[in-house]
Symmetry: C2
Subunit: 233 residues, 2 copies
Amino acid sequence: MTVVLSLKNKKVAVRMKAVSAAENGENDRRGRKASKETRRQQLIEATIDSLAKRGYAETTLADVADGAGLSRGIVNFHFESKEKLLIATLQFMADEYAAHWNAALEKAGEATSSKVWALVAADFDRKICTKRKLAAWCAFWGEAKSRPTYQALCGARDVKYQDLIVALCAQLKAEASYSYDAETIALALSAMMEGLWFRLMMGDGLTREKAHAAAVEYLVTVFPGHMTHQGPK
Amino acid sequence: MTVVLSLKNKKVAVRMKAVSAAENGENDRRGRKASKETRRQQLIEATIDSLAKRGYAETTLADVADGAGLSRGIVNFHFESKEKLLIATLQFMADEYAAHWNAALEKAGEATSSKVWALVAADFDRKICTKRKLAAWCAFWGEAKSRPTYQALCGARDVKYQDLIVALCAQLKAEASYSYDAETIALALSAMMEGLWFRLMMGDGLTREKAHAAAVEYLVTVFPGHMTHQGPK
DNA sequence: ATATATTGAATGAATATTCAGCAAGTATGT
DNA sequence: ACATACTTGCTGAATATTCATTCAATATAT
């Protein structure tokens, strides 16, 4: 081991870094023999990195392995194929996203307006709304139309989410006397949030705060009886 | 020539179709000896087809050549490399998009509200807003963050467009007494249109008409002094 | 000791690129 | 009118490259 150190200096350094990055988790065994789940998670994180840095088409297993500080064959050992790694990565992001807005909904008050406000805020939370993750999402979007599996997972964002937003908008309409069609407003709102995500990813100096402010401005305008710039009434 | 017909039946048939598709242009020489520009355009169209059908990562030169009804080496003959073909394709789409909204702006009346209305309508016009083209755009978006050349061309949509929208919103604000910040509203509006494009591409049964209606609903709500559901006041 | 995780070189498949040759047009000379 | 050389667009087999996958050897943990 120490014999080869002079030759492998660089690589060892990289691996140290990668391992210490994985330390965050609770399941904190390191180096050789990290638990199966830990390794998988580490590889998924490396995949997100690669997708964000190089895009879908340029993401190679070699790059993922390097990013994780592990050797070439590692992905095929823990996932069976590149395809399955990518699906697991997308699945992870979809689960994380869903868990995040569900949690936000839990924490929000009973009032419909509080729920809407919380959902919008959740979309621009630091935890979810990273350039890195947005870029990874976008990499998948580009391939989603031609791959049913991706489409299903990208759309997982909508299946329940969209229904919820529509229901909440309908609720708000019933509470006050807004004239708009609930579905139209729900569509406009969620499309706008997606568009803001997209702009954030493209990164023309748009910040999370400004994006959130734009969404809030919309809420206040459309639901004047329920929202203020500071929060739900 | 006739000797090989029995063997090449299928191929010949495909080529006939491809050639007749290229007939639309003015420069209508066919078969062998189509002008250089015509051939390039034909290959660009085939590239858009492939991007839309198979996504960026799965688009191969073989597929493009087949789609155009031409032989394998053709792309490297007319463009130098796959990369250059893709850049030319994106350039074409960006030019077409810019020309389209500029034309819409020309045709619109002098009033600021007419211009805004025209820009929004242009975005959902049949000519631009095809599933095929949206899918091709999306394929590029996924790679744009990692490739400066793509990013510049995808962003070409904003450089002037975004400035114009901001200026028009500021103008509307000055004409009536809206309280919003013009930049915020402009951001919200254009983000929403991008998000609607995205949803159209993903194709959850959303139609161009419904998407346009959602955008109009927004205009009416934000600029009540200037807009009605039927058009600018 | 055995089982398990990991490595990294070898393999093979996919595919971009090259290029020698062919065919259709075009110009020039007789 | 016909023949000849020359240009240009195109073909498709051969080559080079990139990369996912495999697997025998090795290291580590229990």
